[in-house]
Symmetry: none
Subunit: 153 residues, 2 copies
DNA sequence: TTTAATTGACTTTCTTTGACTTTAATTATA
DNA sequence: TATAATTAAAGTCAAAGAAAGTCAATTAAA
């Protein structure tokens, strides 16, 4: 039996489809009323089914005229380059290696000069302040995140 | 439903656009009357949507013949935009604020859509894994780093 | 018996409104 | 003419209202 969370998930996905899978904007209280559930149920659905891992991301505003915006990333995981890169980066990566990948992306014209500068800036040790020794993990997360948005269809 | 603040924001942005995004001059009471809101609502809109973070600044005069002038930072080459931004970002910044700045940079054509996506990806909470609670500091470092490379030449 | 879903009380953030203050320009008065 | 009074703006601030976020306790499902 489908839970109310599943029903709400489906509802959002249908809305997104109607909107060519770009972006939808909802009012939490409206949706909650419509499905006769508690408002925080909506947050639960978003958290568990519309996070970055699932290929969505959420923005919102509180107060009068507040809203929740769901954006579909539609990362194209089928592109071999993308898949290979994510795998190569893995869970941690050193600065040199990261820069090598960025350079290659630029050389093969996946990204512009400027784009590569931005990405390299985010790979710098001075920028990745981190009390524990998890710089390389952080760098991997960042690089994978940035590359993923690049390969959107 | 868009708040009245959103509507007024849009109104000013359209006026600015008609004026090649340089400067506009308005009368607070006129605008308030036009949108049937309290005059201080105008100040609220200016404070929250036309501050330096958003790439604008405000001048005004009280009394007879008083006015409010909105200037796009971009139009004012006496102020190095990135200096102002770096200062504004400071040592830590929340995701919402960061995204605001990125959006403004895109709107004012300092950066492309793709560049803004890359930067936003690096601002995500899920990406900024951090054992201690220093996400906002990390984000500030990253954003400042990326902005710096964009404005160097 | 561990994981997932539901609920609701409480918190935080953003917007709206209005009463009161300050400043500038104009008009009236000594 | 110099000053005072009046009027015409804009500024400030705090209270009330509107919406979303958080978190922990319970309940249901696997």
């Amino acid at each position: 039996m489908a839970s109310i969370s599943d029903v709400i998930e489906k509802f959002f996905k249908e809305l997104l489809e109607q909107n060519q899978g770009k972006t939808i904007q909802i009012q939490r209280n409206e949706v909650a009323k419509h499905f006769d559930c508690s408002p925080s149920q909506i947050n639960y659905v978003l958290m568990t089914r519309f996070n970055v891992q699932h290929g969505y991301y959420i923005e919102s505003r509180r107060g009068g005229g507040g809203f929740i915006k769901i954006t579909m990333l539609r990362a194209d995981n089928s592109q071999p380059v993308h898949r290979v890169l994510l795998k190569e980066i893995g869970s941690e990566i050193a600065k040199t290696q990261a820069n090598r990948i960025i350079k290659a992306l630029n050389e093969q014209q996946y990204i512009s000069e400027r784009e590569s500068s931005i990405m390299k800036a985010a790979m710098e040790d001075q920028v990745l302040i981190s009390p524990l020794n998890n710089r390389d993990q952080l760098r991997a997360q960042l690089l994978k995140g940035m590359i993923t948005v690049l390969f959107q269809r």
